[in-house]
């Protein structure tokens, strides 16, 4: 590690792939993780923990369905609690993947090639985790399908003026597109695994998933343009998703929700937390599978820079909110600001500022931007901070609104916590399975990064 750091300091950008690799070595190194290498005990421990937490979540959800949402801390006036907080948090995390694979692709940021694959996977799992909450937070989850426009005997349809319906469409679209994007990216690598696996069963499974890909020039040509188009569609999509999520609040009249700054700063916040999560995954993985050659300090550094930038956009958002509380002259907004700074939940607001604005400033230090441990910790802080931000927005706005007679307090119950931690477990479980059975780095895109991929004009 250390020599890398030196090397980074004298030349501005570390390479995106360590020299000395060939098509073969790249292919072997990545596919071996799936095909040949023995599964480490570390993997089993991690997977086991994740699995147990998942079971805990399922139990909590089961009890919820039996008893009702009353087992949570929510009440009147705080009708939304952990469920929505976690939903927004997870969706936000889910933004990095598509962002990396789509936007960076369009921006021709070739360094993305080694992290986009598992970033996309992370997106899928995060969105799945997020998707659980809107479903179970309803009073009658078994009827949640009424939110979809399907012909029914009631001849009655969803109410398309409601941001919740927009959510349903945005999130399901986002999930579908991300899934396609991820799978299409996988196809050529699945072909590689098909051709390289010695195990008959694996050959058949990978073979079916590879759809008979054979790398024909015609196929590659269409493939590339489809991939680009998909990226072009996913880019506005990824920006729209969190915008729509922010509408859940911005459309409402609750002081603290009803504000136009939300869309941009929700999106920025999403990318912020998304990259934090990418780093928290990338750093241990590259250590665990010694992939430092492919996920180099250059990647850590760039991600850190993105976080720094988005962090400041978020900070700007907080600033504007506070400013408006004072400038608007609106009694309710003014009180909201006061309540955040001095109210019963004030400690949370202060720690949010520290986590999202204060601590991340250490990323200005280049040494730290390439120090995995440091980055890991900063990312953790940011993820906590972003969760707190959502708590502040959802709960602190609701608990004291217009009528002083109807003010209340919100205290999460053990069931709230079990469900939340459970989804983290589910996310980890999925991640562990993914790195074990699929190439976590895009092999064919790595090949294109090699010098020998250049076609020399004769």
């Amino acid at each position: 590690m250390a020599d890398h750091t030196e090397d980074v300091i004298e030349n501005r950008s570390a390479p995106v792939i360590e020299p000395g690799h060939t098509f073969g070595s790249v292919t072997d190194k990545i596919s071996s993780i799936v095909l040949t290498r023995p599964t480490s005990t570390g993997w089993f421990i991690g997977f086991g923990v994740g699995f147990l937490l998942t079971m805990m979540m399922l139990f909590a959800i089961g009890y919820l369905v039996v008893k009702g949402t009353g087992i949570w801390g929510i009440t009147i006036p705080i009708g939304w609690g952990f469920a929505i907080v976690n939903f927004v948090w997870w969706i936000g995390i889910g933004h990095a993947g598509t962002l990396i694979s789509a936007i960076l692709l369009l921006l021709r940021q070739s360094w993305r090639n080694s992290i986009n694959r598992f970033a996309e996977a992370m997106t899928l799992f995060a969105v799945s985790a997020a998707g659980i909450f809107p479903l179970i937070h309803t009073g009658r989850p078994w009827l949640a399908y009424w939110m979809f426009p399907y012909p029914n005997t009631m001849n009655y349809w969803p109410q398309f003026r409601s941001p919740l319906i927009w959510d349903v469409f945005a999130v399901s679209t986002y999930f579908t597109i991300s899934l396609l994007f991820w799978f299409i990216g996988l196809v050529p690598d699945l072909a590689t695994l098909r051709d390289r696996s010695t195990n008959r069963v694996a050959q058949i499974i990978y073979g079916m998933l590879a759809l008979g890909w054979r790398g024909s020039a015609r196929h590659w040509h269409r493939y590339e343009s489809a991939y680009l188009l998909l990226a072009g569609l996913a880019t506005p999509l990824v920006l729209s998703v969190h915008t729509v999520v922010s509408f859940d609040f911005a459309i409402g009249i609750v002081p603290g929700w009803h504000t136009t700054i939300f869309p941009p700063y929700f999106v920025a916040g999403a990318i912020y937390s998304g990259f934090a999560m990418v780093l928290m995954l990338a750093i241990p993985i590259r250590k665990l599978y010694s992939l430092e050659d492919f996920i180099t300090d250059r990647h850590l550094q760039n991600s850190a820079k993105v976080m720094l930038a988005t962090g400041w956009i978020v900070a700007y958002g907080y600033g504007i909110e506070a400013f408006m509380g004072w400038y608007s002259g609106n009694r309710n907004d003014a009180f909201l600001l006061w309540n955040r700074l001095h109210g019963p939940y004030a400690p949370l607001y202060w720690s949010l500022l520290i986590c999202n604005i204060g601590i991340p400033q250490v990323l200005w230090i280049r040494k730290l931007r390439t120090c995995p441990i440091g980055l890991f910790l900063v990312s953790l802080v940011i993820l906590i901070g972003m969760w707190l931000e959502r708590f502040v927005i959802v709960v602190m706005s609701l608990h004291r609104d217009f009528l002083t007679s109807s003010w209340g307090m919100y205290y999460p119950t053990r069931w709230d916590w079990m469900t939340y931690i459970g989804t983290i477990g589910m996310f980890l479980t999925a991640m562990f399975l993914f790195v074990r059975i699929l190439p976590m780095i895009s092999i064919f895109e790595m090949r294109t990064l090699l010098p020998e991929a250049e076609v020399k004009p004769e």
């Binding site: 009353g70 929510i74 009147i76 009708g79 409601s162 009180f335 009528l403 007679s405």
Partner: protein, 1008 residues
């Protein structure tokens, strides 16, 4: 009706379809006496019965969320089906009962019938109409023709319907803990009575609560004729001894005092809570008081001197908190006709008050609280006389109490006799002395330890008293039995049953006649026989029918009399113990919700927020802010309250406007045998209450006991100014009469114009109707009636303390109480908040499934079936009037509740949002009538929401705002009219009329 229908109907009202009451009763019919019980156990062994139990039990049986919650108990009432299961089916009373015209007299399925009857509280009858669906009483309403009601009711009358269906009510006759039968009882008391016959009844004592029923009084007197040596004792914890003694002091005879507040220009209250349930005549007084609070007509002025904050004092133009013992001095000053210098009384308050009284001779009134000492009452009589109010605003009649004795003394004598073994046969009819008798008498000990050979308890519940009695006879509820009673003005109402006794209970009349040896006389015969005596002659049948129909007996109203004042109370010596101002004073007061404890098992009343504290399910030690600071007390701190060596421990509630160095405790809590709902709720303060100081005790000690106790208040934050120090939010808009006259439109500041919108609004003018509501904050006295009425009309669930603590109470209509200004004597405001039915409803916009949408008539409809429970609508409702079923709050199992519910309102299940609908079921009923008659719904007062109907003040007006001549339109046209949070442009259909106070101009109110 064909068999299928009958079967269907039976199944609607019967629990367990496999095993219903009919079959069970059939099996029990053959058995009687002790076998009755055994066979029931055998029956319990049968698989059907097990199956039935299992159908009822699991719900809540293993509750994780709120184990042992009172809500849990409410649900577990299904478990009481061992009895309840057998009472599922309704039977009409056998005797002819007479409906109150409004409907054809034949039962039309689906159409309710109304019957006039009365409910009694401490002897005072409140006339009511009872709505009955196919023989099941479901709703209590005021009797609009009766002078004591004029359509209004009080909370206890409203809630009596739940009391009637309470599955915890005593359901059988008990002998020494075993189920027994009436026949057996009648047989077994013959012996002892025969013995007593010889002694002239020397060993017989009958203890009753206050009785105004002419029939019952007549029966008891008859009994005393037969047993001349027997004694009839009367005791109620909330008695009017002081009133009685005061009258004797002034006139040498007991009199009933009645006030005519509609004629009073100046009202002075000496610690009187005359605008809240429990004060005789409160329903009528509220109406009369409200009538004189219209700022556009000559407005009365109200001075209140209070020893503890009450909803009455909250309405005062000038309020002065004062320790109860100090009030006597004020009375003396008034009695001395202002001649005596009011030394040490704050001049700024009394100078003008006395000035007003003097200038309004004949049109002023001084009202005294029941708990004030006799001298104060006597002085008040004197003052009213001096001011020439007698015959103008103050009237005297014979006492309503059929046996006006000093109840405390009466009970003292009884206990003495019990101790000295003079008592052989003790009959306790109603009441619960073992729980609520003054502590120093030690009634309970006397009861259990003494050698009384036969103790009989007759009551609605097996309670702390029945525990110590050989026999317990289960009483029939006043909605199940024939009786009669007098309203505060003496008018007699015949109490007619709406349903045959659910548990074959026996009324007091039947018990007494059994004591007289006539075991099988029915209440009907007894009551009718009595009135036949009073009204002999051929036209009795007509007279009887008319009395039942109208709800009162013609010509029974007491004529006023002018008693001669014999004594000079101003000379009378001080009766309240001289308490130096630095010794702690303890006020004992009836509880605003559960009275003296007799309503402890009534979930509606337990969960009814008390008017000033908004506390539910508990009582607390109310402490003034000054004292709290001095003693370093915080709300919910546990404290020990000590008085004459007796101690209780209870939590503190810091109450703004409470006088310093004095605390208030409410009676009625800490019951040990109330039932599933009431047992264990709150803290018993009777142990501190002694005969020497029933109401006001000085020399108390208060010390921190350590620890805290969670209190369930439905309104955590009770002021309109926010902690950030911003100016108060204009939620309740208020001005003095002067300011109002100067600037009549002051309330409409910041109301957006109709055209302020981005898109075309809906044109409701095209419709026949556009429903709207106006609430006159000036008239509203915070009496809480509307809440219970709404709960009863709309099948609103009781959720229990734990859920209230979480803020999940379900009241569709709440009454917000706000304090403003000086904490030691703040202004207080009440604001009833139903759904605003906004035209631009924020809740509708955000519902993803369109479960709440707008009707063409402007109602904000809630479609329970469509709701999936995202709660987004509640978040987006600025008024927070939406209520969510976080858990299964409704009791779906207990058969009694199935019978009680309003069949026109769907019962909401888990996971759906619910809210005020402007009683849409009532609108539609009237609409159907109108359409059948091919006409429009008339604004003739027949269409009233439940809250409006029960409001004694007439503060809530609902109607068609498309009709410019409707009452609601006229009110909305007034200058005082404003919409709550209208600046959000929600365009609420419910609007408020700003509150106007009438303080004496030269007297700058110390309340800012």
């Amino acid at each position: 009706m064909d068999y299928a229908n009958q079967k269907k109907k039976a199944e609607d009202v019967c629990p367990g379809k496999k095993l219903d009451r009919a079959t069970v009763e059939a099996q029990l019919a053959q058995t009687k006496g002790p076998e009755y019980w055994r066979s029931l156990e055998e029956l319990a062994g049968t698989p059907e019965f097990q199956e039935m139990l299992h159908r009822e039990f699991p719900k809540g049986a293993s509750e994780w969320v709120d184990s042992f919650s009172r809500r849990g108990f409410l649900q577990l009432m299904g478990a009481s089906l061992a009895m309840a299961g057998m009472t599922g089916c309704t039977k009409l009373p056998l005797e002819p009962i007479v409906p109150y015209v409004k409907q054809p007299e034949e039962v039309v399925p689906g159409r309710p019938m109304f019957y006039a009857t009365a409910t009694t509280l401490s002897g005072y009858a409140s006339p009511v109409l009872v709505e009955s669906h196919l023989g099941r009483p479901t709703k209590i309403e005021g009797n609009d023709k009766h002078p004591a009601s004029l359509g209004g009711t009080d909370i206890f009358a409203q809630a009596s319907i739940l009391g009637m269906y309470d599955p915890d009510r005593s359901q059988t006759i008990i002998k020494r803990g075993d189920v027994n039968s009436w026949a057996q009882f009648v047989k077994e008391i013959k012996g002892p009575l025969a013995v007593q016959k010889g002694l002239g009844g020397a060993g017989i004592r009958i203890l009753t609560p206050t009785i105004s029923s002419p029939t019952l009084a007549d029966q008891l007197r008859a009994f005393l004729k037969v047993y001349p040596q027997a004694k009839w004792h009367v005791y109620e914890p909330v008695n009017r001894d002081n009133v009685l003694e005061g009258a004797k002091l002034a006139f040498g005879q007991p009199v009933e005092t009645r006030y005519e507040l509609s004629k009073a220009d100046v009202i002075v209250s000496l610690d009187a809570d005359f605008l809240y349930a429990g004060f005789p005549g409160n329903t009528r007084y509220i109406r009369d008081f409200a009538k004189r609070r219209n700022p556009d007509a000559p407005m009365s002025r109200f001075y209140a001197i209070e020893s503890t904050p009450t909803s009455t004092g909250a309405k005062a133009d000038h309020r002065l908190p004062m320790r109860a013992s100090a009030v006597e001095r004020v009375a003396r000053v008034l009695g001395a006709n202002g001649k005596e210098a009011f030394s040490s009384l704050s001049e700024s308050f009394f100078e003008p008050m006395i000035g007003d009284l003097q200038s309004q001779r004949g049109s002023s009134v001084v009202v005294v609280g029941d708990h004030q000492s006799p001298v104060v009452h006597a002085l008040a009589h004197l003052v009213n006389e001096q001011l020439g109010n007698i015959g103008q605003t103050v009237f005297y009649t014979d006492p309503v109490d059929a046996n006006p004795v000093n109840q405390t003394e009466s009970l003292r004598d009884l206990v003495a006799d019990m101790r000295s073994g003079k008592v052989d046969l003790l009959v306790i009819m109603g009441g619960n002395p073992a729980y609520d008798a003054p502590a120093d008498l030690g009634f309970a000990d006397a009861l259990k330890s003494s050698n009384i050979s036969l103790r009989i308890h007759h009551g609605l519940y097996q309670n702390e008293t029945s525990e110590y009695c050989h026999w317990h006879v289960n009483e029939s509820h006043s909605l199940e039995a024939w009786s009669d009673g007098r309203a505060y003005d003496g008018t007699v109402s015949i109490v007619q049953p709406l349903i045959a006794p659910l548990y074959n209970g026996k009324s007091a009349h039947e018990l007494v006649s059994a004591l007289l040896g006539i075991g099988d006389a029915t209440g009907f015969d007894i009551v009718r026989a009595y009135w036949q005596k009073q009204h002999p002659g051929a036209d009795f049948e007509a007279f009887w029918r008319k009395s039942l129909h109208d709800g009162w007996v013609e010509g029974t109203t007491y004529s006023e009399k002018t008693p001669i004042r014999t004594a000079t109370p101003e000379k009378a010596t001080n009766t309240t113990p001289p308490s130096d101002s630095n010794s702690l004073e303890i006020n004992f007061r009836r509880d605003p919700s559960i009275y003296d404890g007799q309503f402890a098992n009534n979930g509606w009343l337990q969960e009814l927020p008390k008017p000033m504290t908004k506390l539910t399910w508990d009582n607390a030690v109310l402490v003034g802010p000054k004292m709290a600071v001095r003693e370093h007390l915080a709300t919910e701190d546990m404290v020990t309250l000590e008085l004459g060596g007796r101690k209780i421990t209870a939590p503190v509630w810091i109450q703004a406007g409470h006088p310093d160095n004095s605390v208030t405790v409410y009676l009625g809590y800490g019951r040990t045998r109330a039932g599933r709902v009431g047992t264990g709720a709150g803290f018993d303060v009777y142990p501190l209450r002694t005969t020497s100081a029933l109401w006001i005790a000085s020399g108390g000690k208060l010390s921190k006991a350590g620890g805290t106790y969670k209190l369930a208040s439905t309104q955590g934050y009770q002021t309109m100014d926010t902690p950030d120090g911003a100016p108060p939010r204009p939620l309740v808009r208020e001005a003095s009469l002067e300011e109002y006259r100067k600037e009549p439109k002051f309330a409409q500041e910041g109301q957006p114009p109709k055209e302020l919108t981005l898109y075309p609004g809906y044109d409701y003018a095209k419709q026949d109707y556009a429903w709207g509501m106006a609430i006159d904050l000036n008239a509203c006295v915070g009496c809480n009636n509307c809440i219970i009425a709404c709960q009863s009309e709309n099948n609103i669930a009781v959720v229990g303390k734990e859920q209230v603590v979480l803020g999940r109470h379900m009241h569709w209509l709440r009454v917000d109480a706000y304090y403003q200004g000086d904490r030691d004597n703040p202004k207080a405001f009440f604001q009833p908040v139903p759904c605003m039915q906004c035209e631009n409803a924020p809740c509708e916009l955000v519902c993803p499934v369109g479960a709440t949408v707008h009707s063409s008539e402007g109602l904000n409809d809630m479609i329970y079936n469509r709701c999936i429970g995202t709660r987004y609508c509640s978040n987006n409702c600025p008024y927070k009037v939406r209520r969510f079923n976080f858990l299964l709050f409704q009791d779906w199992t207990t058969s009694q509740y199935k019978m009680m519910r309003n069949p026109d309102v769907s019962v909401r299940s888990r996971g759906v949002m619910e809210k005020c609908t402007y009683c849409v079921q009532r609108i539609n009923e009237r609409r159907i009538d109108a359409e059948r008659a091919d006409e429009k719904i008339k604004d003739d007062g027949t269409l009233q929401t439940a809250c409006q109907q029960s409001c004694p003040a007439g503060a809530i007006i609902f109607g068609n705002i498309n009709d410019p001549n409707s009452r609601v339109s006229k009110l909305k046209a007034q200058d005082r009219n404003y919409g709550l949070l209208a600046d959000l442009n929600t365009r609420p259909r419910t609007t408020y009329l700003a509150e106007i106070r009438n303080p004496k101009p030269e007297l700058t109110p110390e309340r800012g």
